[in-house]
Structures are given as structure tokens and as C-alpha cells.
């Protein structure tokens, strides 16, 4: 068929047929992508250069980790203890040192293009590995930046606003607010069912009618579902758990991410807005990082611990990255500027063999030694780790066949 509509190569009816016949993937995997907005400095976090001249090296000291030979920043003591649980990728490199396009690249694993919108990770999971009916497949904390691209709106994220410690949490569209009870909502739905009769007898005539029925029911299932409501209900957590993850919104968001994965959501993106968690340190790089790194350290460590405690660490792929790294040389205002030629990423969970450093940058952390790795390689690796073939061929809305990750190969060293 030439016309393929907006569902990424399928008409709604074809899609539904596929959904009905889709088999459970042999390997059940979930994923969490933690995106550090602004472009975190690599040389002040996971790629320190203590021997570089002071105008490059910066103020932070390296500390040893639980793995001999690997050192990371002194402001990451908890992650240093857990070095065996994750891998550091250094010498990750690209050329788009601008927030907008850099983010698009890193959030999709494909170089942004003028003619095609690539989907973000969660949208892909939502398409090829949907969650149970009464759960969203993909949740984005906070609002997603890229969207489902050529896969079609159907696979958009359910947006969950970030939780704030001490303030009761609610999710847009999911939480029942202003005293609305499930019973009342159900009675409204009953009224709706009785009034929604205009197309009775023609439910299967047109895709739009059928789609509205199906999604309307599923929306009700999700909103009224005990599973979903519980997954989002942070008040069910013990105080000690809030404290463990750290009171910062970052830690609280990771706690929510963990709850969602535990409930059966298949993918969660955590990307706080710069206003709350800004790694774009053009000014005062070091004082800013001194404030940013402790909540990051605490939150990510607790996420790893909690997933391990619940036996979900090996079925959940975790990736941490920003849009780029930062300039090797410190600028006149004590900051570092955008630098895409060298950056870092972390990978954990799933099949990732922790306790290793993959790749290397030169002595000023300015460029990879050798070829380095591309965001595409990183994407291919992450997809592999969450059980998705990175070469999977999709059809765009103009019928153009396209590989999920167009360039890039999984980094084989990452996996045991």
C-alpha cells in the first residue's frame, strides 16, 4: 500500500491486527533513560584528567572506586562504591554542539534530519513492546522533547510531571483530582457509554470510530486501574525511601521511575527541565556541579540498589547521557562551553557488564582516542540491552523503509 497514514506504515486496522497477533518478546526487558539536560561536563564527572594543566583539569579531585584502576569525581562517592554495577563510556563523540539538535540526536540515536523525525526511545518500545492493557507502555518524566516521530502519535509518551518531595503527587490525565473518586468517574463513564450511541451498529465500519472505542476503553482501564493508580501513587512509599533517593526532584523522579517499571511500564524517560536540573554550566561550572552531582549520585545509586533488591536490575536497561560534553578549557567565567567531540554516557542493568570503562579521550579530554563511539553506537547498544533489534526496519509515513538506528553498531564490549 502506498498510503500508510499516520501510524508509521500501518493503517489502524492493520495495526490492530498486528497488535492482536503480536507475540510476547522472548526476552522481557524494560528501559530507563536518564537524560541530563544541558550537556554535563564529562571531565568533571566520569572522565577526569588529573594530570592536565590546571586550566583544563578543573577543581575536582578523582577518587577511587570499587573497581581498581577506575576513578571518578569526588562528588560521586555513592556511585564510586557501585562501580561494579555500571559501565562508563568515554570518548563518545559527535558534532552537534547545539542544545536543540544535540538533544534530538541523543534522544533518538539518529542524526536529526530536515525531512524526517526520528522517534525517541520510549516511542519505539511502545510500538514494538507494548505494556499490559491497563498500563501505559511509555512514561516520560517530565514532558518529552522529541516525540514519536515517524512512528506516529499513537506511540507518544504518557507525560508524568516530576514529583516534588513533600507535595502530594498527581499525574496529568491519570490522577483523579478535586475529590473525584473512582466511583464517580465510573458513573460518568457509565453515562457516557449510554449516550455514545450515534455510531451504534457501525462500530467496525471506520478506523476512526473503532479507534476511539478502543482507546476510550483503554483510557478508562488505565485511569481506573488499581495497578496504574498504585504505580503513580507515591504516597504508598515509606518516608525512608524518599530519603534514600534524596529529596531533590531528580531523586524523586527516579523513585517514581522505579515504581513504574516495577508495575510493568516498559520504558521511562527521566528528563528534568533545565530550570530544575541544569547541566549547561557556561558560568561557575564547579560551584554548579557541586550542587548538581550529589543529588545525581544519590538518586542513581538508589535506583540501582532498589532495582537489584527487587530482582529487576537484570531485566532493566539503564542509560545516562546528556546532549554533549563540555569544552576542555575552562572559560574566563569559570565555566565550560558546549563540546560535542567528547562526552560520556553510563550504561547499567540488563546484560551490561559493570565495572568497566569503554573508550578513552586524549589527555585533555578533548577528543576520543581512536575512532571513539557515536550516539548511534550508543543507541544500538541500548536498544540491544532492552531487547530491541537496532536494525529493525520501519516504514515512515511516506512509505520509506528505514532502519531504527541508521548508523552505528552495538558496542560489544559492554555486554557480558
Amino acid at each position: 500500500m502506498l498510503k500508510v497514514g499516520a501510524l508509521g506504515g500501518l493503517t489502524l486496522s492493520q495495526y490492530m491486527r498486528l497488535q492482536a497477533s503480536a507475540k510476547e518478546p522472548s526476552q522481557k526487558r524494560s528501559g530507563i533513560f536518564i537524560f541530563l539536560e544541558g550537556g554535563p561536563s564529562h571531565q568533571d564527572t566520569f572522565d577526569l584528567k588529573p594530570n592536565a594543566p590546571s586550566e583544563y583539569r578543573g577543581e575536582f579531585k578523582p577518587i577511587s572506586t570499587s573497581v581498581p584502576g577506575i576513578q571518578i569525581c569526588e562528588h560521586l562517592p555513592e556511585l564510586a562504591k557501585r562501580m561494579k554495577d555500571y559501565a562508563i563510556i568515554r570518548g563518545l563523540s559527535h558534532t552537534l554542539a547545539d542544545h536543540g539538535i544535540g538533544k534530538k540526536y541523543m534522544l533518538t540515536g539518529n542524526r536529526p534530519s530536515q525531512t524526517l523525525s526520528h522517534p525517541e526511545y520510549g516511542a519505539v518500545v511502545s510500538k514494538v513492546h507494548p505494556s499490559a492493557r491497563d498500563l501505559p507502555s511509555y512514561v516520560s518524566i517530565d514532558e518529552s522533547f522529541v516525540g514519536p516521530g515517524y512512528l506516529g502519535n499513537e506511540f507518544s509518551a504518557l507525560t508524568a510531571n516530576k514529583p516534588t518531595f513533600g507535595i502530594p503527587y498527581s499525574v496529568r490525565g491519570i490522577s483523579l483530582e478535586d475529590g473525584l473518586t473512582v466511583e464517580k468517574y465510573n458513573s460518568q463513564k457509565k453515562l457516557l457509554d449510554d449516550l455514545d450511541t450515534a455510531f451504534r451498529g457501525y462500530e467496525n465500519l471506520d478506523e476512526q470510530v473503532r479507534g476511539l472505542d478502543r482507546f476510550g476503553e483503554q483510557a478508562h482501564d488505565i485511569i481506573s486501574s488499581p495497578t496504574t493508580r498504585k504505580a503513580f501513587d507515591l504516597s504508598l512509599e515509606k518516608t525512608s525511601e524518599f530519603t534514600r533517593f534524596g529529596r531533590h526532584e531528580f531523586g524523586q523522579s527516579l523513585l517514581l521511575a522505579s515504581r513504574l517499571i516495577e508495575a510493568g511500564v516498559h520504558f521511562v524517560t527521566v528528563r528534568l527541565r533545565p530550570a530544575e536540573f541544569d547541566f549547561d554550566t557556561h558560568l561557575d561550572n564547579f560551584s554548579k556541579l557541586s550542587a548538581l552531582l550529589p543529588p545525581f549520585d544519590k538518586g542513581l545509586s538508589s535506583l540501582i540498589d532498589r532495582l537489584k533488591e527487587r530482582g529487576l536490575f537484570r531485566s532493566t536497561g539503564i542509560m545516562v547521557a546528556g546532549e554533549f560534553g563540555r569544552t576542555p578549557k575552562i572559560n574566563s567565567q569559570g565555566g565550560r562551553d558546549h563540546w560535542a567531540r567528547a562526552m560520556f554516557a553510563l550504561m547499567a542493568g540488563g546484560d551490561v557488564e559493570g565495572g568497566q570503562v569503554i573508550g578513552e579521550t586524549d589527555d585533555r579530554a578533548g577528543a576520543p582516542v581512536g575512532n571513539g563511539y557515536s550516539p548511534d553506537d550508543l543507541a544500538a547498544s541500548f536498544f540491544q540491552n532492552i531487547g530491541i533489534n537496532s536494525k529493525h526496519e520501519f516504514q515512515t509515513n511516506i512509505g520509506r523503509p528505514i532502519n531504527l538506528v541508521r548508523d552505528g553498531k552495538p558496542i560489544s564490549q559492554l555486554f557480558s
Partner: protein, 869 residues
Amino acid sequence: MDLINKINGLATLLGCLLIGVMAVSAVEESPSAASRFTEADNKAVPDFQKHVIPLLGKLGCSSAKCHGSFQGQGDFRLSLFGFGFQKDHAALVAEASSEDGHRISPELPSQSLILLKPTKQIKHRGGEIIKQDSWEYNLLHRWIETGAKGVQITKTDQPPQQNQPEFSKEGILFFENRIRPLLENNCYECHGFNMRKGDLQLKSREDALLGGGSGKAALVPGNTEKSLLIEAVRHTNPDLQMPPERKLEEKEIADLEQWIAMGAPWPNSSDLAPVQSGKKLAQLHYEPKEILFQSASDIAQIRVVAEWEDGEREDVTCLTRFRTNNDAVAVVNESGLAKSIGKGDTHIVALYDNGIAAIPVLRPFTEERLEIDVTQYSNPIDRFVVSKLVKLGITPSKQCTDTEFLRRLSIDLTGTLPSPDEVLSFIGNDSADKRTLKINELLERPSYAAWWANKLCDFTGCNPTSISSLLEVAREDGYIKATRWYDWIYERIANNESYVDLVEGIMLADISSGVGEGMPYFWTRQSLEEPKDTAMSVAHSFLGIQLQCAECHKHPFDQWTQNDFVDFSSFFDTPILKRGRKGRSSKASATTEKELSLLRSHTVKVGDSDPREPIMDWLRKEDNPWFARSFVNRVWAGYFNVGIVEPTDEFTPSNPPSNPELLNWLTQGFVASGYDMQWLHRQIVSSETYQRGWQPNETNREDRRNYSRAIPRRIPAEVIYDAMKQATAATDQLETVRTNLKRRGTGHLSMRMAGTHAMKVFGKPDRAINCDCERVNEPTLLQSIFLQNDPLVRMRLADSGWISEVGKSKATDEADLIREAWLRSVNRPPTPTEVDRAKEHLASAQSTEEGMADLLWALMNTKEFILNH
């Protein structure tokens, strides 16, 4: 499977051996290649362009998965979908990189890799493609035996020769095997095709000799030390390190040095952008002209004849690629045998060289021969539509009700729901011409101009973030400019200025001044970084054409080659458009008069003057193949959900209109009216076709593309936003909500709300890419979650002025309130059953206000509300 094999076998017989029997052509015609090369010892001489390249395409050799990929499997790279004749010939005659030998051995043809590999006599990752005694094998064998000649380029097709030294064959091969791939993989992202970072382009030897912004030559043949290219790749100069992402391997640098030392051999520059074919295909003939199936599994053999410019004709069925546009209606195998699958109509597309034939295939929905006299219709639209329905055995649905008509028309024409009073007075009106009068009335409303201005903003790419600078602080500036863009279009639609004048205001806008007579922001968008981006945007906005595929390779299902792309892009490579862009230094835009082809429909000379002028002149031509047509089609699609050409921005020969007569008539009428947009809207919405009900009859349940009934479709994002506001508004606010542009989603909020949660959920386009598919009107889970429980919806109800009126005025009769709720949302009075159910709910509610809020919530969640039907 067995059956398919049998059919395949049969088809080969029919298509390739019995062709002589079927031939009825007046001009003498060469028999098909399959018949001529069946015997190994034939005397025919295959032609590279006519036979070898199409065969490699048909066998899948030049597909994206195999040798057409940009890496080229096994180091053997062919141009994707085959149209780079020189390059492909060079690749075929080159030595293989492994030790397997030559791709072509003229002395011992059967030892050529291109025969050993696909027959799997030696390892071939692509598996066995052909058999040793097949005609395909014989054809390739015979081509090698007769000298494996490439394409002869005639003098007139050749671009003007630069003074370029002759290079040895070894030199050229060294370039093709070592240097070209290196440049393509490492440099072209920034300096290739139409890209030129730092003013440097590396797509031809001349470009490299010219150098970039530094003023120094990138390439000094014979002198590695003076060649800036070498300095850059060695990474010795901290300010000039290329490629920036990584240093090349030592081996690669050594290759570059060796190549420059050799004198930088580079085949004629025409090779990179593939030159015109040696021979020109005049026409692709096919028969039958139309396939009419009666029942499942009916088959029909398609025969394709190529007619070349010199009059030569040849049966090329066995060298043609076939595909179906809808495999639920018909399928076609590689031999051109079409088979009926289901009822309905579609096209089988045949592709050979750069010719495309689309053969209509139709199987009626019913066997009855319908007796409908089409002359009874006064509106020609109905005549064209019903003529096709008769062919399909479809009886159209009955006329829609008055309330359906009013709601549908208001949404489609004005992006607004009718008000309760309007509904009541319309159904209370008994005059025969009330629908016509309503159409005229709505066409004069500001909301008509607003809704279609919003649509034209979609088509032209009015995106606030793209017309401001990238800085966050400039966002407000973007909104202001985008709003001016919208207002500029709005005014012209409100005054019913002609569409072509409106487009001229955009096309010829003076970009050095602000908004005035013209609309300059179309050209100053950040996304139009390179001339090619502008070319793609103009083609998309005003011609309904997607050029993007042809940027890197021949368009797989269209006629466009890289040449067409380069030519069309060249129009926008002009200093006039470079303000605000990093331009190339003046040396390159020296005033040479170029003759450029306007997508092969027209050729113009472009010199010093604004090159947009000849394009505008061409758009104004009555016989422009796309300009009026694509607009007419987009407007049509706004009313029927599917365009006559669908997708609406895919005007290609392989995607023909579902009703060509209809599209022709509308286009001609639109042009004849002086591009009068109101004429077009009025003509469409006055037709019986537009006013049909959505309920199907026994014959048209499955019809979704021939307009035999209305297809229910989700109302667009902005309209939903405004509709909810309207349904909940206080009575005295109702008219303001309906008309105040500044506060409407289809008005100024259109720009400000783009990218917000609600608009993203309902698929409002960002207007960031060249694709009509950016607007999504399909239902999704998130939309249902939004409608049922989003704070925005709950808030609308909680803050509803109307609901609070209900609480205050105790006097009002409950039945009146209920009726009002229906009129506000689904725009019709409720049925007695519905009134009873509503009363039941009100009785159980704690207060009338709460009960009414529930009722309105439920109504706004019905399909009847969300769908335009």
C-alpha cells in the same frame, strides 16, 4: 505457495516468451530481452542502460540492502535504484577489493564475479539470485562478451567541459576505489552535494581546486604540502582539523597524499551528480490500459514497451519492476502478472529506466450494473464522482441530515462548531436553498478566513521557533513574526484575493524589508540553511512534491533523479536569498547564465536577476502541472479526509489520482476562476458528494476513497480546543469565544499553542518538516486519556460559565437545560431516550450543576462530539 509459483511460471511464459503473439504495435518492436537471451548462443548485444542497469535493479542488486547501500556490500557499490550510469559502470569494471578477481573478465566472461557471485558458484552473501542457464545470466554474459560497454553520453547532454587533464585509467580507478568512498564517508556530510561548510564544496575537482572561505585551494595537484586538504586531515594545525569528529586513519591519509601526488585524478565532474542518460526514454507504453477484474483470483498480464527518443521500441516487461499501490485490491508479481485480491480500485505501477506507468486496476463491489444517469447532477463534481461509482458498482449514500450538514460545514469551512441558536434556526428554516445560503454566509465569516489561514500556515511552514533566532530569549520574537505571517495570509483570504497572487507575495517577497506587500519570513526560516532546503520547501509548499529522496539517489518510485534535485536547488543558490545566511563568497556566484530545468516541465535561463521570478512565472502558467492542482487537492482533502491524490504532498506518476477527471476539472475551474479560493470551497461544499451521510448502504461499506459516503474523521487539534471552550462558555461569552481570533486555537493561539501538551496530543503540526503527514488526525490512547481526565478538560467544566448559570437560574426547565447541553456539544437536539437518560442522571446527582457538568463531560467524550461526521 505452490499456486504462486505456478502463476509465476505462467507469467514468465506469458510475459517474456509469448510476447510476439500479443504484440500489436504499428512500429516495429524489438522482442523482449528474455526471449532474445533465452539461448546462450544468441547474437544480440545488450545495452548497458536499456538492459544491464534495469536488470540489476530488477534483481535487487542496486537495492538499499545490497549494493545500493551507501557502503555497498562487499565493497561493490551501485547507485541506489540505478541511475548513476557512469559511476555504476566504473564500479562494475573495477577490480574487486578481495582476491576473488575481476568483477568483469572480458577474456573469460563466465569467470566474471558478476556472474559467479549471483549464481553462487562462489560465495555471495546475497545468496543465489539467478540460474546459470537463465536469460538473465545469458544477458549479462553476452554484455561482457561484447565488451561490457557503458553509456555513451552524447555531446549535448554533457555539461560544459572544464579544462581538465586526461587521467590514466589507473588514476581514475584509484580515485573511485580509495578516494571517492573516503570523501563520501568523511567529508560530504558538510562539503558534499549542496552542503558547503566554510564555503567549501568537495563534489568535483573544480570545487576542490577553488577552495573554500580561506581563499586557499583545498587541492594542489602534485603538491601535498600546499594542499590544504592534507593539512586539515593531518590534524597538525589546531585551527584546521578535518574531519572534526575523528582523525582519519594513517592509511587513509596516505591514500590522499598518494592521490594528490598522482595529480589528483578525478573523473569528469559530471559523474557525481549523475548525468542524463545516454539515451532518452520518450515514453513507457503499457497494455492493457486498464484492468477490470470480476472475481477473486482473476489474472491479467501487463506488457510494457519502452519507446526511446530515436524511435526505437522494445518490449521491456521482463526488465520492469512492478508493484501494487494497494495489496488488498490487487497484487503483481515480478513478471507483470496482476492478480485480483479484493474489491475496489488501485494502480499497478511499472518502473523502467526513469519511466513510470500506473495502470488502473478495478474490481466492482457489486455485480449489478447500476442505472444512474449522471447528467441529473448539476454540479460537475457529482458527475465525475458518480461516474466512477457506477464503474465500481456502488450506490452513493443518502443525503446527510440538516444538523449533520450544519455541523460538518461549520467545522470544515470555519473550524468552529455552530452555536445553539444557529442550529435551531437552521432546522426551523423550511426554505429549499437554506444550505446554499448557509454556505454563502459562512464564507463571509472571519472564522472562515481564520481556519484556512491556519491551513495555509501549515502548508507554508509558519513555525515560530524557525523564524526567530535559536536563543530562548528570542522566542517572543518568533511568535510575533509567526503571527504576522498568519495575519498576512488571513487578510488575503478574508479579501478573497486570488491564490496565485497570495503565493506571489510569498515567492517574490523582498527579504531585506519587513512584512509589507510580501511575506518574507518564508525565506528567512532557520531550517532553510542550504539552497536544497529551500528547494525542498518550495516544492512541498507550492507543488505538493517531495524531492527529498532525490537528494542522494534516484527517487525509487518517482521520476526524480539527482540531476533534477541539483537543478531545482540551483535556483535558490542566489545572493538574493543569502541575507542572514552564511553565504558563499562572491567568486562562486559569478554571474554566469545557467539554463536550468524546472522539474523537467520547463527550462529557463537564470542569470543575475532574482531566480525566484522565473519560478513564479512558471507557477503562473496555466499548464503548470502541479501548482493549482496540488492546492485544489489539499483543499479537497480538507473536506473528505483523503485527497484525490493521497498523500496530498505526493504528486508522483506512481501515485496517480483516484479520480483524474475530477481533479482535472477542479483544477481547470480553479485556474479559470482566477484562482478564486471561495469559488473552490463553494463548488466543493455545494456538491451532493460533500453532503452525503456517513451511514453506508450495502454497496459502499468498504469504500474509503471514492467519496460514496462521508467518512467520520476526528476534528483537528485546534478545533477541539476551541470547541470545548465554546461548549462550556457562559451564554454571554459564546459569541466572543466563537469570533475573537486572539483567543482562538485556529486564530493567533495557533502559533502560541504549537508544541503544548494538548496540541501535541491531538497532532497539531509543528510545521518543522516538509510533510503534510505532520498533522495527525488519528485517535490515540493519550487523546482519550486527555478527553476523559486531563486537568484542562476538568477545569473547563469546573470553571464553565454556563454550568454556573445553570446553578443560579433555578427557574429553568430541566428539559431545556438538557437540550442546551446537546446543542452546545453535538449540535443537535436530544432524542427522547437521551432526555430520559439525562434526567435519570440529574436525579441521582447531588446538584443540578454537578449533574449538568457530568452530562457535558459525557457528551464531550462521545464519538459524535470528537468526530466530524
